[in-house]
Amino acid sequence: MTDELHDSPARVRLPPQPVIGPVTLHVASGPLIAPVLSRVVSMILARADCPVDRLDEALILCDALAAHVPPHSRDGHISFRIDARAGTIELRVAELGHGGASGLIADAELPDVGNVIEHFSSSRRIEPAADGTGEELVLDLRFGSASPADGRGSA
């Protein structure tokens, strides 16, 4: 069947529009974290032209965060701040209790696999919460010209 619209040489393919600005997710600690975080991060990465293999790794990272973050929540909720820049996104996990960031990383250790957070993030740092009541884990996920593996293991 001929489809004149789709066969037309005048057809224009519009590029995907990137998500603009930092996105903050504040989620009740529990079963909502995994599906919501994964969907939001995957959409931001896809619109930022992240390669599929790196996107897949980012989703594994999100699953690990969702699985291990609840015990480290400061007050029953977790905040994620996702900021896409050229070739990288910063994923900030906030509202963690004191020691929560390092505890979260430690909990992501899998037998025979290693540490999922360390393996799939390009770099990591721990910062005190602005209000001094806990701490935040800041992960960078690079997917630009630099190989995602370049930063692995750095902290």
């Binding site: 998500v19 600005g21 079963p31 939001v40």
Partner: protein
Amino acid sequence: MTPDLQLSLPARAENIALVRHAFGALGDALALDEQLLTDIRLAITEACSNVVVHAYAGREPGPLEVDATVRDGMLSVIVRDEGPGIMPHPGSPGLGLGLPLIASLAESVELGRDELDRTEVRMAFALSGAGTDHRHT
């Protein structure tokens, strides 16, 4: 009451799809009926579109905030902005059907301002068969 899910992002057209995706995930987690989830997402899309088109018209887009809370078999959604409030827009490019559409899809709709003088559209949806409290203790 702290919402189960709160999304905060710049009120830009490109970002409305992100809100829809987040509520798709919420619907999956709550095992919502597909038609109900479609209605919820449509109502939220309309409310977010109103924010994008009207709340910050003529200036840099400000924040769009969407809260979702599940209690007692009801999903309460608040779409919030820092614009001047909801008022008639005779020159609007739309058909002016947004709020009536939301009203037809939701169990209840309230328009107002919060304690910080932000504009709010509050919607409630009955989660028949899926009304569970998703707080994690």
